[in-house]
Structures are given as structure tokens and as C-alpha cells.
Symmetry: C2
Subunit: 446 residues, 2 copies
């Protein structure tokens, strides 16, 4: 991780040993978070709302439980941020849109409720692009304030990357968790479709998910596991599989180098980072499967050259509602980007949508067949460093694949480009999230 520029990630997991001994407490951990927030937030604009008094009450209760040796969970007292498309009963859910200013739900989303049940301290709502779509918010990258933090989970990535929070929730339907996590030098996780309950999240398209941006693999795994034990996966889905503890390092036998349409758009420096890593892995005895030596993979790469547009077509149709309903009430409140999306989606129609769903099934079958050939897929997380402007959240060509395929994916802050963070992305088979973490656990050390 030598190339990682000024990584200021602050892990909650790393602090819990001292919670047990009393040398540190969740309340003190929270106060350090708040202190960083107060210094950095004026520069970053990562938060849409704060709930500090309630967070302090939660941290104090957790402090007592850790002291008594009876924490509610591994994340008892952990400060956490919630993307502002996810409902909270104590803060408005603004959706990154003036159409939802002051919108106050009467409940917590399933994940937020589960976090509270596990003892976590919900610090605030993190900024999002408009309805988690393309229209940017004003959040800035903690590694360079002139650059985007990515999107749509902009505030979550910025807050974790800046070391304000150890974990924040995001949502991803194209590349909205992994891309901003990578841009901001954080770990990012997009689970298997349905593995984490989306109830109470605006992001409810047919392959969207609740994802996590965090300071370490442990922070992300513990939070995911402890939430799902309390709120389950999506209704009808089996939920996240795996053990309570993060799986130990698993050296992969074979890895598939997946190019995706992103490869053609990536910077030379970004490509070089991945190639170098693959060389190191190869030297360590890991077999690398690439499109040059595997015709099935080559055929698959060819079949997904248009997958970004394919993903946009799906979510466009699925977003007609609620976007059109919001337009009916408050058209002026929507961005030109959202209004344009409505026009395009209306042209598709139900029959067109059914064709998209059929093609998605075929892609998933092909992907799951490929997945049996190796322990994981590896690729970049983004085409390069975060773009040097605030109004564009970056290209998601490397991220859309795992989203459309419903597959679990992680980004690891191992690379750099233009002296900015860049992620190594690994992707696994559906429901093999725990194994993916095990491989990631090995990759960050090798």
C-alpha cells in the first residue's frame, strides 16, 4: 500500500481492544470523529444533516456495555453515516433534491434500524447526488478538494476517506458505492443482490443494493454481518452468508483479470498499477486467467462492451416511477439530467424492458459459469483518479458489471493515479461474499 496518498482511514475495529481494557471508549472515539468532522466538514460538504446529541447518547450506552464486557455487537457504539436516500426517523431524508427538503420519514430504514439495534451511533446523513443518480452534489474529495468524491454515495465516501467515520452506508445500482470509495481511498463493498435489506432506501431498482464504505475489511464485514442478523436480506432473499468473524486471508489459486469496457478508458498509470499487481501475484504462484488465454472470458468481455448503456436503460425504465411522480408534483425541482432520463425511459416501454431482463439473465448465467474457473475476478475500480471537478462524479464503466450481474464486489485502496487513490476491484460469485472478503484479506497483504 506504499503508493496510497495520505490514507487517513480510522478503523473502529482497531480500537475495540482498548474499549475492552478501558484505555479508550466509544464516546471518546465518537468525540474524535466529531472533532475531525468540525474541522473538515466546511471543506468537504459531506453531510446533509447531523444527529450528534442522539449519537452521543448511543456512544455513552455503548461505553458502559464495553466496560461491562457486554457489548451488543462488534460495532457497539461505532459512529456511522447514512446516505441521504436511506430513511431515518430522527433526520430528514432529502434525496439530494430540493423536491424532498424537510422530508421526514416516520421510521428508520431496515439497515439503520439494525445499526441502532447493534448499538451503533448514527452521526448523520451523508450527501448524495440527486436521487442517487447522475446529477452531482457539492461534496469534495478529502485527498484533493478540487476533485469530486465520486457519486452517488458522495458524502459517505468523503467522510470515510477523510477519517471522520469508520463506516458509512451507501447504495449502488451502477457504480455508486465502489467508485466513490475508490476515489476517496476507502474500502467499498457491494453485496450480492438482496444480501442486505434495502427496506426504506429510495434505491430499489432490480439490481440495486445497500453497500458499505469503510476504513477496513473488518469494519465493513462486521457491520454487514451484524446488520443482516438484525434486519435480514431483502424479503424473499436468504441474506448475507458467512461467519461472524471476517474470514482469514485466502491465497487464491486462480484469478480472472476482467477488463470490462473500462479498460479502454483507463489511464496508462491506472492500467500499469493493475498489471504490476498481477505480475506480483503471478510471481507468487497465482494463476492469472485473461481474455488472451481463455476464449470463454474473451467472449464474455465482448458480450459486455455496451453494459454501461444496458445498465442505464434498465434503471432508466425502473426509475420512471418515482421520478415522474416527483415531476408531476414539482417539475422545477428536478435537474435537467433527471428530466432527460424520463424522456429516454418513456421511449422503451414494457416490451423493451422485458427484453432487457431476458438479456440480463443470459449475462448472469455466463458470468456464473466463468466464476467457477477461479477464486475471484480482479480489475480496476475506476478509469483513474477522481476527476478534477465537482460537477462530474466520474466514469462507472468498471463498476456497472458487478451491479448488473448481482455479484458481490469489493474495492481495496491499493493503487494510485495522479497521486490520488485508486482501487483494486475484486468481484465474486453470487452469495460467495465471505470468500471474496477472504481473498481480499490476502490481497491487501500480498
Amino acid at each position: 500500500m506504499s503508493n496510497l496518498p495520505s490514507p487517513s482511514l480510522v478503523s473502529f475495529h482497531a480500537a475495540t481492544d482498548e474499549f475492552r481494557t478501558g484505555k479508550d471508549t466509544p464516546r471518546e472515539f465518537l468525540e474524535r470523529s466529531i472533532a475531525r468532522l468540525q474541522v473538515l466538514e466546511p471543506k468537504l460538504s459531506a453531510f446533509a444533516a447531523l444527529s450528534l446529541p442522539r449519537a452521543r447518547i448511543a456512544a455513552d450506552a455503548a461505553t458502559a456495555r464495553w466496560r461491562d464486557g457486554r457489548p451488543l455487537s462488534r460495532i457497539d457504539g461505532m459512529p456511522v453515516g447514512i446516505k441521504d436516500v436511506i430513511e431515518t426517523f430522527d433526520m430528514p431524508t432529502g434525496m439530494g433534491s430540493p423536491t424532498h427538503d424537510g422530508n421526514q420519514p416516520r421510521r428508520d430504514a431496515a439497515t439503520v434500524f439494525a445499526l441502532r439495534e447493534a448499538g451503533a451511533a448514527v452521526v448523520g446523513k451523508t450527501k448524495t447526488t440527486e436521487f442517487a443518480g447522475a446529477y452531482a452534489t457539492d461534496t469534495r474529495n478529502p485527498h484533493d478538494h478540487e476533485r469530486t468524491s465520486g457519486g452517488s454515495s458522495a458524502g459517505s465516501a468523503s467522510a470515510v476517506g477523510a477519517g471522520i467515520l469508520p463506516v458509512a452506508l451507501g447504495t449502488q445500482v451502477i457504480g455508486s458505492v465502489l467508485r466513490p470509495a475508490g476515489y476517496c481511498g476507502a474500502f467499498g463493498y457491494k453485496p450480492t443482490f438482496g444480501a442486505i435489506n434495502r427496506g426504506g432506501s429510495h434505491d430499489f431498482q432490480s439490481h440495486s443494493c445497500i453497500g458499505l464504505i469503510g476504513a477496513s475489511l473488518e469494519d465493513i464485514w462486521h457491520t454487514s454481518y451484524d446488520m443482516v442478523q438484525r434486519c435480514g436480506g431483502d424479503p424473499g432473499q436468504p441474506g448475507l452468508f458467512g461467519s461472524e468473524e471476517l474470514a482469514g486471508p485466502l491465497k487464491p489459486t486462480r484469478l480472472i483479470k476482467l477488463e470490462t469496457p473500462g479498460w479502454a478508458l483507463a489511464t496508462d498509470e491506472a492500467r500499469q498499477q493493475l498489471e504490476s499487481k498481477l505480475s506480483v501475484l503471478s510471481a507468487a504462484g497465482v494463476q492469472i486467467i485473461s481474455r488472451d488465454n481463455d476464449p470463454d472470458l474473451d467472449a464474455f468481455e465482448k458480450s459486455i462492451t455496451d453494459i454501461l448503456q444496458f445498465g442505464f436503460d434498465i434503471i432508466g425504465y425502473e426509475s420512471r416511477w418515482p421520478l415522474k411522480s416527483v415531476a408531476y408534483r414539482d417539475r422545477q425541482g428536478l435537474s435537467p439530467s433527471a428530466l432527460d432520463q424520463i424522456v429516454k425511459a418513456d421511449a422503451l416501454g414494457l416490451d423493451g424492458y422485458r427484453e432487457l431482463m431476458k438479456r440480463r439473465v443470459e449475462l448472469r448465467v455466463a458470468f456464473e459459469r466463468l466464476a467457477t474457473k477461479a477464486d475471484a475476478f480482479v480489475t480496476l475500480d475506476a478509469t483513474g483518479a477522481a476527476p478534477k471537478r465537482i460537477t462530474y462524479t466520474g466514469n462507472p464503466s468498471f463498476n456497472v458489471g458487478a451491479s448488473v450481474l448481482g455479484a458481490p464486489a469489493l474495492t481495496l485502496p491499493l493503487f494510485s493515479d495522479e497521486n490520488m487513490p485508486l482501487g483494486l476491484q475484486i468481484i465474486g460469485a453470487q452469495h460467495a461474499d465471505a470468500k471474496l472478503f477472504a481473498v481480499a484479506n490476502w490481497l491487501i497483504e500480498n
Copy 2:
């Protein structure tokens, strides 16, 4: 239909010919609805909120379009009611719970939005049991004000059965559309799982649905079709299949008499009604398959003796959130019934839930295999007349099967018990909703 007590159903479809000629108009149709509402509502308590000025504007616009020969749809100007667990931007969504008094969403649910796009006049929100669960509301049966209208779609059934509305939306996860529809002498429809977009409905468990209660098969089919063209099915689902027009009568070759656990609980009069109908059908040349002559069916009946508890176990687990989140904020606002449900569900846990999901897949496989043997399943819609009290919404043992199986079902107001309406229920294979309507269309005439 000779036994049907005072059926006062008022079809919109039946009136549209005169909208074309100008002898009648959607605005006059609406005013007749409102006049009945004003007389009957003090007795029925079917509505939670009204939006009459906006409904009149919609009806006037539809009147002009019909006059010009350019209605937006077959339901342009149709007065419609919305169950109060489904979001509306112009009326609060109260969930039948004091915890949601004055809860004002910023959007319409997908179906409500689609209704408005099709020109329908949204008259009001119809009363629901608490969060569409077991705890009754105060709505009364239009055929006997001392009796329940059933639940949870209580107000929708009462308003349609009373002839106030031609169509009202409900939701069903156990028996919440078909049972109240049958009790109130209306037609009821529960679609194939996922066939009508649930976005913006509280009822989001893994086999719940948006359903319709209506005055005729045409009213229900037109409304369903015209909504789905505008809002699709659930994200990822292909949506309702079928043609624009209601399919003509289809004489079934074979029908399966399904007993369900309800048969053992049904009144003699109710059973007799079904047996008589089956005799008539048999005499008309329809082959009746029953558990006495089909071992597979007998095995299936034996496998579903506990399906009501099975259904409650599933929705119990899936309802921990949001019920527990509401309890966290306002425990006093929940009924003892809801609080008891939380306690039971907490005991199940994620592993227990996964076992339920496995069993549901097995049941669906067995059901779909049976479905290939006949054109439809026929059974009762309820164990007998609506119970003679307001605090109990009746036994859903006949309804839970189609819900758990994700299969389409219709109730037809063909029977009676205690001089009250009782429904004939027919159930089809997943995605064969249009064929089910065709069989129903034949059954109501034969």
C-alpha cells in the same frame, strides 16, 4: 348469481359507451359516486381521507377527452380509492396506525401515479387495518353494518361493495384483497407475484402484492392492464402479461377443486354452494379433479395443512422491520397484536427464515406441476359469511395459498352464506393471469 344479496356494484366500464355518446360523462359518474359516498360513509367508515376537488378536476378533464373521442385510457376519469398503506402525494398515508397520523409522502406510489397518468380520478384513501395486519379498523360491511368488511383492505372492499367506487386498490400478503372483496360482494384480484409495481406501498413482503377490488371483471382487468403499461411490474419482474381487452369467456376443460385448510372450517352452506356449482360445471362437461381422484393433489393438500401458520411465520419475520422501527419511536402507538407479532418473529432468526424460503420454493414447484393438469383451481373465497363483529376481519385460510404460491387469484361474487355475499375463488399458474380472467369470464355466466 341469483343468491347474491342486494348487489349494488357500479361498473365504470358499463358506463363508458355513454361517455362516447355524451349521454353520460365521467364528471356525472363521479358526482353519483360522491353522492353515494356522502350518504353511506357515515355508516360504513370506509375512507381515511378524501381528495374531492382534485378528483373533480380529473373527471372534468376526462369528460372533455371522452367527448373528443380521445380518452387517455379505458379508465379515463374513473373514480378510484387507494388503500391507506399506499402513498399519495395529495393525501396523508396513515397506515391504519396512530403512529402515522398526518404522514405526508412527497410522491405517489407507482400504481397511483399510473392511475393518474391514465386519467383516473383519485377520490380518497380507504381504511386499512394497522399496517395491513390483523388489528382491525372500524370499517363496516355494506351488506350488514354489524359485520366486518374483512381486512386488511377493509375500506376498499366496503366502498366497492357499497357501489361508491367501481375500483379500489388493496394489498394482499395473506388474504387481504380476496377475503374482504368476497365478504362485500365484489370482485377481487390478486395478481401473479410482481405483476403490478408495488413501489410506494408499505406492503412489501416477499409474496405481497397490489391487488384490485372492483365492480366487474372488465373494471379490474382494464385498470390492471392500464396501470402496468404505465408503471410496469416490480423492478426485475416482467409485469402483467395479457392483451389490452379482457379475454372473452373460456370454457375450462378441467378444473381442480382445491380444498385448502379452509375446507375443514367452512360452513355447511358455504361448502354446499361450491359443491352445487361444481355439479353444474360437471353437467356442462367440465372435468373436476379432486383429491379423491388425484393422488398428487391429495399429497399437495396434505402438504399445505399448516400453510396459514407458514404464511404468518414468513410475514412475521419480514415485518420485524419496519414494525420494530416504529416501536422504537412510538411503542404506545402499536397494537398489542403488532407487539406480539414482533416477539414471535424475533424467535425465528435468519436461519429459520431461510428454511421457510426453501419450503416455499418446494411448494411452488409442486403447485406449478399440479397447475399443468387443469385450466384453473377452484375453491371458496372464505369459510362463510363475514363475521358478525367489527373487531375480527375473518379467517384467511382459503386465501393464504395463492399468496404464498405467488399465483394469480380471483374472487367472483357468485355465492352466499347467511344471506351475505360469498365468493368463488379461482387460482391459476404464475403469469397466466389473462387466462384466469378468461375462465372467470365463463364461470360468471355458467
